[in-house]
């Protein structure tokens, strides 16, 4: 397999930690986006859930950030787990692009906590969301050329993904609320644009990093990307089914509609978890074909 790095126990841990970090970042950004965009459409308990979700995710994100520093230090040290607390190794990680990204991510996740503050709190947390998205443009192959295009695409890809992922749990709750169907319908209309932006940005990134279609089939990066895209297709299937069938059924108060929609959203959440795992694998152990 071309472009696949060796995988050992530490690498598996690194991938898991990265996937959890992705999830935390998306939920933190998405919880904020949800509570701002749907401030006037969602009922209080749903908005409260979105804010709680953002805060919890931001705290988990901060913890995972610290853990990832340790794992990275251990990986580069060649000393195994002892390297995780070695000041010199941690210093090397801090000096690397991961250090820069960690500053953006850490400040962003702290700013997310401002969602709990009255008045200007949501503005601070929105800035935090953009800072988190920007942190992803500071590491790895996002630093390649054309750098500004890659950065804009990644930030766009992440904000659109966060809008979707962060809305799933609040929407699952909203399905139980009396006016929930209207919120779900409204979300469906907004999400159509968001998903288009997500796919467009993702495809452009994949094209810039792959260089050619043939590279997708002969490299580890291409294979992992195809696995990711396949799960995304399943996710899109659920989302479309929800929008076209289950939400209209909920609006017309068909029996069993609430249960069917909530179950379908749960499946979406599982698909997202798999996508994050695939993405963490993609960005940890494979090399984009343009860099081979």
């Amino acid at each position: 397999m071309t472009g696949l790095a060796p995988i050992d126990g530490l690498v598996v841990l690194a991938i898991l930690a990265k996937a959890i970090g992705y999830g935390a970042a998306l939920l933190a950004m998405g919880g904020v986006l949800f509570s701002v965009v749907f401030a006037k459409h969602a009922e209080a308990s749903v908005l409260r859930l979105a804010k709680q979700l953002a805060v919890c995710a931001a705290l988990v994100g901060l913890a995972v950030l610290a853990i990832r520093f340790g794992i990275r230090a251990a990986r580069i040290s060649g000393m195994g787990f002892d390297g995780a607390t070695d000041p010199m190794m941690l210093g090397f990680v801090w000096e690397s692009p991961l250090g820069t990204a960690a500053i953006w991510r850490g400040i962003g996740e702290l700013a997310i906590l401002a969602i709990l503050l009255p008045r200007f709190g949501h503005w601070i947390s929105l800035v935090g969301s953009v800072a988190i998205a920007t942190s992803f443009a500071q590491v790895g192959h996002a630093l390649g050329e054309p750098r500004s295009a890659l950065a804009v695409l990644i930030v766009l890809h992440l904000l659109a993904a966060a809008f979707w992922v962060g809305a799933l749990i609040p929407l699952r709750r909203a399905a139980l609320a009396p006016d929930g169907a209207d919120l779900l319908h409204y979300f469906g209309n907004l999400a159509a644009g968001g998903v288009a932006a997500l796919i467009l940005a993702g495809t452009s990134l994949a094209w810039l990093l792959s260089g050619s279609t043939t590279a997708l089939f002969g490299t580890a990066y291409g294979l992992a990307l195809l696995v990711k895209v396949a799960i995304v297709a399943v996710l899109l299937g659920f989302a479309t089914w929800n929008k076209l069938r289950l939400v209209p059924a909920l609006r017309s108060q068909k029996p069993g509609a609430v249960h069917a929609l909530r179950r379908s959203i749960s499946m979406e959440i599982m698909a997202v978890a798999l996508i994050l795992l695939a993405t963490a694998t993609l960005t940890s152990v494979t090399t984009p074909p343009v860099n081979l």
């Binding site: 397999m1 071309t2 472009g3 696949l4 790095a5 060796p6 995988i7 050992d8 126990g9 598996v12 841990l13 690194a14 990275r72 990986r75 580069i76 040290s77 060649g78 000393m79 190794m89 090397f92 990680v93 690397s96 692009p97 991961l98 990204a101 590491v139 790895g140 192959h141 630093l143 580890a220 090399t287 860099n291 081979l292």
Partner: protein, 114 residues
């Protein structure tokens, strides 16, 4: 349990993998070469690499080497064997970090003949 699972995963996955990421760097001795003497061990990278740990192993165990290149990122790494290498097979392993922050590792092997 977790450790065993991870170890199991490593054993299952590892043989299918080949090293990549940094472009095929030239090494001295070359990977797979048979040489009569090893005055130095060196590697070249197309992009500065921070080499952090290096080990030279023979079937008898670790062989002491002295680094000439420090831990700052460099495109060329050099190390010297402290003593003349006895005939046998050797493997050089390294770990480090690429300039984009990716943890990197690699190895090359060679044989010293009489």
């Amino acid at each position: 349990m977790i450790k065993q699972t991870l170890l199991g995963l490593t054993v299952v996955v590892a043989p299918a993998l080949a090293f990549a990421h940094s472009k095929s760097e030239a090494t001295t001795p070359a990977d797979g070469a048979t040489v009569t003497e090893v005055p130095e061990l060196s590697m070249r990278f197309d992009d500065p690499m921070r080499i952090i740990s290096v080990t030279l192993t023979s079937p008898d165990g670790d062989v002491e080497i002295e680094r000439e290149t420090g831990m700052d990122p460099a495109t060329e790494f050099r190390a010297l064997p402290l003593e003349e290498l006895a005939p046998g097979s050797y493997r050089f392993d390294w770990r480090g970090m690429a300039s984009d922050g990716h943890p990197m590792q690699g190895s090359f092997s060679f044989t010293v003949a009489e």
